[in-house]
Symmetry: C2
Subunit: 308 residues, 2 copies
């Protein structure tokens, strides 16, 4: 089976990208969309993020055999309850949220009569809102699907094919393991980036304009991810609390050990730690999850010979 009509609730970076990608890669599929914010709806219609952008969430889902909630984790349940009366009984319910355990529970409680198969495309940029989406966001990125133990296998395989059509590679895991993996690959990095950007802007002996001016020394890389949508990230930390706190505990232990090495002047320990982290970078580039161009190709690098 293929989905004939996809409804997208929430037309930000993820929802808008899905809408554009469906129109580009699944031309036979209909897309309808809705966003709670009237200004976002207007802009989404202007950009053509869906074939039709509706002024009511119920109208958006009425014909759909796949409904994807692309709203912050904390309002998934509310968004689902709002469309419940208009849903087709056979509509598959999915989402794109970054924490799967709590979202699976929220959607399941809001729509007890529907099949819910949560999904998480591990793709994004620091931008958000209806201007941020683009059709190729998911290309060569992983989409993690966390099906419940009892599910409709036909619908599951249709969802896999849907994401593959949008360019993603699909992986399955259970929600609990997903939340642990994402705590370390996404949630902890964001928390740390938000922290250091805050620390840097609160100093009294270094001015904010100095921090901005000399950010090319490394700090600017943290500001990119600390520019992500604050509402979504608040909800991620509240909804994946246990895994984030566990990873944060480990990080703090490791940081304390490096702090002691600096204080003691233990160059050997520092070198040993710094040398082993290079191999991971190499693997990430080999697997196509980042760009090997120095500095991600910022600015001009004419004539550069890439490092071996």
């Amino acid at each position: 089976m293929n989905f004939a009509h996809v409804a997208i609730i929430g037309l930000g970076l993820q929802g808008g990208s899905i809408g554009l990608a469906v129109q580009e890669f699944l031309p036979g599929t209909r897309v309808s969309g809705y966003d709670l914010d009237p200004a976002h709806r207007a802009r989404a219609a202007e950009r053509g993020l869906a074939h039709v952008v509706h002024d009511s969430a119920e109208d958006a889902v009425r014909e759909a055999d796949l409904v994807i909630f692309c709203v912050p984790p904390g309002v998934m349940g509310d968004a689902a309850r709002a469309v419940r009366p208009a849903l087709r009984p056979d509509a598959l319910i999915s989402d794109v949220g970054s924490c799967k355990g709590s979202i699976a529970r929220a959607l399941g409680e809001a729509l007890p009569d529907h099949f819910v198969i949560p999904a998480h495309p591990v793709a994004g940029t620091e931008h958000s809102g209806p201007d941020a989406g683009f059709a190729h966001l998911f290309r060569n990125r992983w989409c993690i699907i966390t099906p419940p133990e009892q599910t409709d296998l036909l619908k599951l395989s249709a969802l896999v094919e849907f994401w593959e059509a949008l360019g993603a590679n699909v992986e399955h895991m259970n929600a609990e393991h997903h939340d642990l993996v994402l705590a370390v690959t996404s949630h902890l990095p964001h928390l740390i980036a938000y922290t250091i950007v805050g620390t840097a802007s609160d100093l009294e002996n270094v001015t904010q304009s100095e921090v901005i001016k000399y950010s090319a020394g490394g700090f600017r890389d943290f500001t990119r991810i600390a520019a992500s949508d604050p509402t979504m990230w608040r909800d991620v930390f509240l909804n994946n609390k246990d895994a984030v706190l566990e990873m944060l505990g480990r990080f703090t232990e490791d940081l304390t050990a490096l702090q002691r090495s600096i204080r003691m002047g233990d160059g050997e320990a520092l070198f040993g730690h710094f040398a082993r982290t290079r191999a991971i970078r190499r693997s990430i580039i080999e697997e196509g999850q980042d760009d090997s161009r120095p500095d991600f190709g910022r600015g001009d690098h004419e004539g550069i010979v890439p490092a071996a």
Copy 2:
């Protein structure tokens, strides 16, 4: 005055970039180079990082009126002592190191009869070695010069003009303040990136291949700066210990406060923190210190309309 002959000791990312930039932007100036590693010398000669790559450091500096040490902070003194007998008495001594207090002391002690004016171009990539340099590394980047109180003003202004010719914007500050500013904009970000990459690779409940696979969720941004040269970074932390420990203490306090907000479920505190960090990102882009393209232009973003 202009420099007629620049000698570069250490032909890695910084030294190689200076050599290429001089040849491109100061065609009347002679460049000689030396690197301790014979393989690096051979590769530097192949890439033409200098007009002549010498097999002896003394030969490299013999004619030079500007000698720039581009070696890790911990070996600046040794590198300077090695060339002392061959230096012209009027040669200006400079460097490109990331911590200025300890380097100024090391160079001053090694070469007590020469004028030493330390400099730090705040520019780089995650690559190192003789293949990493490129002529445009310094374009639109800041170069911080930390002149001692007693200095030769003619030589100082020649050094400023030299860096401006290579494309940099020059700023002056004292060494102590430089080390504090860089501790927050560069050293602390690197320490944190090295830490989290280490934490992620030591987990027993999430595999390293999962960390690599799902790194697009934020983690990959940290791996870039954690791929920087381990020798140089060991030396930076050992040579800017006090400022780094101070900044690290503030960071840990702030992280502990956010950890408590997560544990308590205090969404308002989290949102408040996350919302204020966006403004800094915007300023960094406005001042040309980073690229506004989402994700730094990784991959294809056809048809994207940048977010407002």
